[in-house]
Amino acid sequence: MGFLTDSLVSAVLLAISLDRELMEIVMVSLRVSASSTLIASILGIPLGIVVAFETFPGKRFVITILNTLLALPTVAIGLFVYALIARRGIFGPLDLLYSQKAIIIGQVILIIPVIITFTIAAINHIDDRYHKTAMTLGANRRQTALVIFREARYGIVAAVIAAFGRVVSEVGISMMLGGNARGFTRTITTAMALEYDKGEFVLAVALGIILISISFGLNLLFHLMQGRGKK
């Protein structure tokens, strides 16, 4: 138990002293995760809307594939992207490997299925009556889709938050594509893996506590926002 209290006290100590090293790691994590979530959202939400509203041959197959991709292991994505952007890969000349950009590319691939499927689910969750109401009030297809999108907004925000939670906590992609370079691509999770390897469990757990706090804060924020929407 002493070990856990040590970790807890250390986490608080590091957090309140705004330890530079720690802040740098947290900032890298947040910047990279926010960027990949933003890019994945910009791509994924419209795609989700299209898949949800349009009927096309093979739609169910597409959804099955997307659901399968939800379970894609991060190391598989890491390996795949690594092969593409390594010095000897097709995109080698761009010198992307072991940069924040590389992590972002991998993470976008990781969470695009999350955002698309959650968006589809959020839209499908909206009662058919909203659809009919918009139509009977004279809305065309685009305007109707907009109404449904607006009604599904909390579900879609939940998708974005879930996606962020996924990237901020993943380690495979960050480690393989970022390389854990201190001050450049060292994220909370890769730092935790490193501190574990070094035998500095206290610091590893302290970082873990900070990671959990971030996730908790984020969910709290979402919860409050949702509560305000419902009042």
Partner: protein
């Protein structure tokens, strides 16, 4: 109910005892923490079967970074540690976690870099000056940064290179007491990448970035000559006294951790420094190259 419970407990106990007896009859098994680079060198694959033939001792190898390996010793998770960070090993013994450090062997570190050698250090014997050159040229340098033996060595080299260093200190609490963890690295250097990973990963990182790095020769030989796609890095500086990398084996102190198999661990350590063990070490060849030099003869 009680009878059934007693019966179950009895059954478990007897199975446990039988299990213990089996391991006894098959010879002793030791748990040993070592570093990933030691395991990666392939030396253990030659040594351990011979050890079993000679003494019946079997070794369960747990490979980690030097820090974690020593930590395993501190926590009493293993019976013996086999690492290469002399100063820390001596502190480990001084702190009472180990009984004695047996100097087993050494190999050496090399400074690697791309064939183009932008810092112009090829052929330099003075490792510290070579590092200073790299710093001055602003060429990328990859540091393991994982608190490993290699990382410890690298920090020592930077200290003697005269490059201005920055100390990063983190305060954490261990066993209720505030302690500090410090690192040294060149100050304000955007060319310095501390990646906190193992030797192999560091080599591929340096290869990808065509950067300089410090590596142990064994891992380098494996990545240079033992792979289908060899790393595109050359040995640019070698032979400095400072680049020597001594290995030590330390049985865990039974006074600190009474459950360890001290007698067997000592037997293992003594076998390593015996003529038989030392000959095996000196005769080991990795891809035709000698890797380790016995220190005990």
């Amino acid at each position: 109910m009680i009878r059934v419970k007693n019966l179950t407990i009895g059954l478990f106990l007897s199975m446990f005892v039988i299990g213990l007896m089996c391991t006894q009859t098959l010879g002793e098994t030791l748990k040993m923490s070592t570093t990933t680079s030691t395991q990666a060198s392939g030396l253990l694959d030659v040594l351990l079967p011979e050890l079993e033939k000679d003494t019946g001792i079997r070794i369960k190898v747990i490979a980690k970074g030097t820090g974690a390996a020593i930590r395993d010793g501190i926590d009493g998770n293993v019976d013996v540690i086999f690492v290469h960070a002399k100063a820390r090993e001596e502190k480990f013994v001084a702190d009472g976690f180990g009984t004695k450090r047996y100097a087993v062997m050494h190999n050496d570190f090399v400074i690697l870099g791309p064939a183009s050698d932008p810092a112009g250090i090829k052929g330099m014997k003075d490792a510290a000056t070579a590092l200073a050159r790299i710093a001055a040229s602003g060429s990328m340098f990859i540091s393991r940064g994982d608190d490993s033996g290699t990382h410890t060595k690298e920090q020592a080299l930077w200290k003697s290179s005269g490059v201005k260093l920055k100390q990063t200190t983190q305060s954490i609490v261990k066993k209720g007491k505030k302690t500090q963890i410090s690192f040294f690295q060149p100050e304000g250097a955007s060319w310095y990448r501390s990646i906190g990973q193992g030797m192999g990963k560091t080599l591929t990182f340096a290869d990808e970035k065509q950067a300089y790095t410090l590596a142990d020769r064994g891992t380098y030989i494996k990545y240079k000559f033992g792979r289908e796609v060899p790393v595109d890095l050359e040995v640019l500086s070698e032979g400095d006294e400072l680049l020597s990398n001594p290995y030590g084996v330390i049985p865990i102190n039974p006074k600190t951790h009474p459950h360890v198999k001290f007698a067997v661990a000592r037997q293992f350590a003594e076998w390593l420094v015996s003529k038989r063990g030392q000959d095996l070490i000196g005769g080991y060849r990795l891809l035709g190259k000698q890797l380790f030099y016995p220190d005990a003869l």
